[in-house]
């Protein structure tokens, strides 16, 4: 590993700052809330930590699931690209690793993601991906400065209304996800 940046698509651990809920002894409300979360992740330490407050986890978990997995609209790989870019902008090493890896799996283009991790979104040469990455970064860093002009590159790259809405949802969702992950626990970067 000779990555010049601290971001990676290798597996990164996450250690919560609160003891997570025990899946075996979870209350019915906690179980129902976990069931609203993406199936592959609902027994993760992260979701079991959020399960302390089942009311917010149920709504937020269902929101997260539809934002990342709803059919049609923005291709899933581009949702993963956007959420990796947002996670880098927010400095969330754990979230970046998860979504960079999913992008690489979906596109079978790990080299393209590695370049982005090493050099930042400005290194992206594909016009459509670059437009997605630039919008994701600007909406993350300076939401108050975003205007219709910032959508023009997305339109030029062929994104329709549903795709722009999906992209906006994905970027907004990770303003949330990165803050939860960073404040409730620590990324455990591999040596």
């Amino acid at each position: 590993m000779s990555s010049p940046s601290r971001f990676t698509m290798e597996e990164v651990g996450w250690r919560p700052r609160l003891a997570p809920v025990d899946a075996e002894t979870a209350t019915p409300a906690q179980r129902a809330a976990l069931d609203a979360c993406p199936p592959a992740q609902r027994r993760s330490t992260y979701f079991l930590t959020l399960a302390h407050d089942p009311a917010s986890l149920g709504e937020r978990g269902a929101l997260f699931t539809t934002v990342m997995y709803a059919p049609r609209g923005l291709p899933r790989a581009e949702r993963e690209l956007a959420t990796a870019v947002v996670s880098m902008a927010n400095g969330c090493v754990y979230c970046t690793s998860v979504h960079a890896r999913r992008f690489a799996e979906l596109t079978k283009q790990p080299a393209a993601m590695q370049r982005l991790l090493d050099e930042g979104p400005g290194a992206e040469t594909d016009p459509r991906r670059r437009a997605v990455a630039d919008y994701a970064e600007k909406l993350t860093r300076t939401p108050g400065a975003v205007s219709a002009a910032d959508l023009a590159p997305l339109r030029a790259a062929g994104l329709d209304d549903l795709e722009v809405l999906d992209l906006t949802h994905a970027v907004a969702m990770f303003a949330n996800a990165n803050r939860l992950m960073q404040s409730l626990g620590d990324s455990d970067t591999p040596a």
């Binding site: 709803a70 939401p143 108050g144 949802h169 803050r179």
Partner: protein
Amino acid sequence: MSQPPPEPVDLLEDILGIAPGSRLAALRRRRPEALRHSQGAYEELLRPADPGGISHAERAALALRVALREGEAALAARYRALLGRAGTRAETEAAEDLPGSGEAAGERLAALLHHADLVALRPGACGQADIDRLAALGLSPRDIVAVTQLVAFVPYQVRLLAGLRAMAQENPA
């Protein structure tokens, strides 16, 4: 006593003036789950039936604080109104005391507002000591998660509003 004003069906559409049947209203209804759970998360975080150890006033104060920190005036105005109904004048003063530490309504709210600032602006700087400080205030694990969910949810609303505003600008009605 006058009745409280009715809550909007969808907070963000009400803020943006997205009219029923308009182009953006129709577009958002192509993602009905996102629409429903954005509003649902707002309800569960700001006005839960069982608020546990974090009162409705404290929740509104935290949301107001983050909206102000994010520079989202229209959203802040909604949270200010919510806090005006649920809380005291001192709580509003504390939440709006951006250069200061928000002591107007006591140490507990000041500590919660400090945590909101940290999670909103510098989440990577949050450490075990910050979580332990919340526990020392008497917050249960459920309360700590609820506070974190709430102060991390407002940045979601801010960016969804910004994106929808740009789309509305792009396609004038």
